[in-house]
């Protein structure tokens, strides 16, 4: 631990500079995010589950799907926001339409818009749709447009579905009508070919033909009723907007809002990054400075032992640390050039 503290003391200026840059930039960014973020949100009351969403598990109808109406609608809204066409429809209803038309990369712009949307469940029947950006006017437009496009999309899907059912009923009605006419024609033919008193067998056959006519007419009547109901279903669905009621309309914010979480996140990330960088610096510094700090420190090299120490020579002013070596060399070798072995 001591070596890390020593390294921290050694690099305190660098540490201070790193913290100043990273933390300063992070906190400034966090403040900017907080002060320049505007959010508009709509709170929506969901009365009942949409018929399209009430189906249970198709693989096992006996198993109930545990899902509240609010969570169903939240999921639906979230899924709609994933599609580019939905986002495009939303943007085209706002003041950002011109931006979208001028955008060189439409997909990127739509993805950027998508990131600013947020849908969250507030309870079993309530959900909230919000949009956050640096412009105070855009969020309210976006939220309103998103709700409107969502409603249109859902209604359109229902009407299409209803029309398909109506077509099916009409084709079945036509077939049943033809079947009834055939049965009536068969009965008339039988009556004209059997005037007078009928035998028991003929009476039975005539009764069967009559029964076929009754059955065909009953089916005709039922199909007519179904076709009529499907024709008016679209109109009924138009009125079902009550199931998705905006309780709190989105409002244009005059003061910054909604940027608190992002600002806190940014600040925390910068604080953590600064601390991490400093820790890394201290670790590397301690690693590089992993040396013998003094005679007592030689114990770290066990079983090696300290034999002796040579003190650092403090030389006088104007003299460098390399003075020792030339002085020693001069004393050792400056004795004239007389190579000889003397022992």
């Amino acid at each position: 631990m001591r070596r890390y503290l020593t390294a921290a003391k050694r690099y305190w200026l660098v540490i201070l500079a790193i913290l100043a840059v990273v933390w300063g930039a992070g906190l400034a960014g966090a403040y900017h995010e907080y002060a320049n973020t505007y959010e508009s949100q709509a709170t929506i009351w969901v009365l009942r589950a949409s018929p399209e969403l009430t189906s249970s598990n198709p693989e096992d109808p006996g198993t109930p799907v545990i899902q509240t109406v609010a969570s169903q609608q939240t999921e639906l809204f979230t899924q709609l926001l994933q599609s580019d066409s939905f986002i495009r429809d939303v943007v085209e209803r706002t003041s950002q339409r011109s931006t979208l038309e001028r955008a060189a990369n439409e997909t990127k712009l739509l993805a950027d818009v998508r990131k600013h949307f947020s849908v969250e469940t507030l309870g079993t029947n309530m959900l909230r749709v919000s949009y956050t950006t640096s412009d105070p006017r855009t969020p309210v437009e976006m939220v309103n447009a998103a709700i409107a496009v969502r409603t249109e999309r859902v209604l359109q899907a229902r009407v299409t579905s209803t029309a398909a059912v109506g077509t099916l009923y009409r084709s079945e009605f036509d077939a049943a009508q033809k079947q009834a006419l055939d049965a009536a024609r068969d009965l008339d033919g039988f009556k004209s070919s059997h005037p007078g008193t009928l035998t028991a067998t003929d009476e039975a056959h005539q009764a069967q033909l009559q029964l076929a006519i009754d059955f065909a007419q009953a089916r005709l009547s039922e199909l007519r009723g179904r076709a009529d109901r499907s024709a008016v279903a679209a109109a009924v669905l138009e009125m079902s907007g009550l199931e998705f009621e905006v309780v709190d309309e989105p409002r244009q914010q005059t003061t910054p809002s909604g940027g608190g979480r992002a600002a806190v996140l940014l600040a925390l990330v910068s604080l953590a990054a600064g601390a991490l960088l400093v820790a890394l610096l201290v670790f590397v510094g301690a690693l590089l400075a992993d040396h013998v700090a003094g005679p007592l420190d030689v114990g770290r090299l066990a079983p090696a032992r300290l034999f002796a120490t040579v003190p650092r020579v403090a030389v006088g002013a104007g003299a460098g640390g390399s003075e020792l070596r030339p002085a020693l060399a001069a004393i050792a070798f400056d004795d004239g050039d007389s190579p000889s072995l003397s022992a």
């Binding site: 590089l288 400075a289 992993d290 040396h291 013998v292 700090a293 003094g294 005679p295 030689v298 770290r300 090299l301 079983p303 090696a304 032992r305 300290l306 034999f307 002796a308 120490t309 040579v310 003190p311 650092r312 020579v313 403090a314 030389v315 006088g316 003299a319 003075e323 020792l324 070596r325 030339p326 002085a327 020693l328 060399a329 001069a330 004393i331 050792a332 070798f333 400056d334 004795d335 007389s338 190579p339 000889s340 072995l341 003397s342 022992a343």
Partner: protein
């Protein structure tokens, strides 16, 4: 020689003298640890202490700075002796004033230090010296020039520079040497001796 000059190496010299060692080597982990300076200073201090000739051998095949200090770069030396191209009489330079005999490295291309050659040198050809000091290259960069000496010398010191030599590299160097109890000389410790510096400079100026 200034009497105070040897003070900084008195500690090493006294300890070596106390052990009765005859042959002593100095190596290091990396270059620039002060090994050659310590070898030189210790040789002078031992000559002063024992009042007899000391043979200082420059066996640093990588950076023979003592040979340069003695201006014996082109003179025959240890390598020539090992290659049997020269004998010690012509290779060793004697300095009467310092009681120092110096064997330069010689022509390093001529031969490398071998166990047999060095054993012969220490056992036969320098027996008239009671003290033989060897300056060796760093272990990590000149392992092949250090290891042959390791088993022949009475002491092989590893010089470390206080607050500079990285411990992992020191451990690596000690592992390469393979001695059971490696001995460390810690160079440039914080205990400063200002009077020594003054005397060194004065001695140098006197000689100049």
């Amino acid at each position: 020689m200034s009497a105070t000059l040897v003070h900084s190496f008195d500690g090493i010299a006294s300890r070596i003298d106390a052990t009765g060692a005859r042959s002593v080597g100095f190596t290091s982990t990396l270059a620039g640890e002060g090994t050659s300076t310590i070898a030189l200073g210790t040789a002078l201090a031992l000559a002063e202490l024992r009042q007899e000739k000391v043979l200082l051998v420059d066996a640093n095949w990588i950076h023979p700075s003592l040979t340069s200090d003695a201006r014996r770069e082109s003179a025959p030396g240890l390598a020539d002796y090992l290659a049997r191209k020269a004998d010690l009489i012509t290779a060793v330079r004697s300095v009467e004033r310092s009681r120092l005999d110096f064997l330069p490295v010689g022509d390093r291309e001529a031969a490398r230090p071998t166990l047999r050659g060095l054993a012969s040198l220490l056992a036969n050809d320098v027996t008239h010296f009671q003290t033989v000091l060897i300056d060796l290259p760093p272990v990590l960069t000149g392992e092949m020039y250090v290891l042959p000496w390791a088993t022949l010398l009475d002491h092989l010191f590893v010089v470390l520079r206080e607050a500079a030599t990285p411990l992992p590299l020191v451990r690596q160097a000690l592992g390469k040497i393979g001695l059971a109890t490696p001995e460390i000389i810690l160079n440039r410790t914080a205990a400063a001796t200002p009077e020594l510096a003054t005397s060194l400079v004065a001695a140098h100026r006197r000689l100049a």
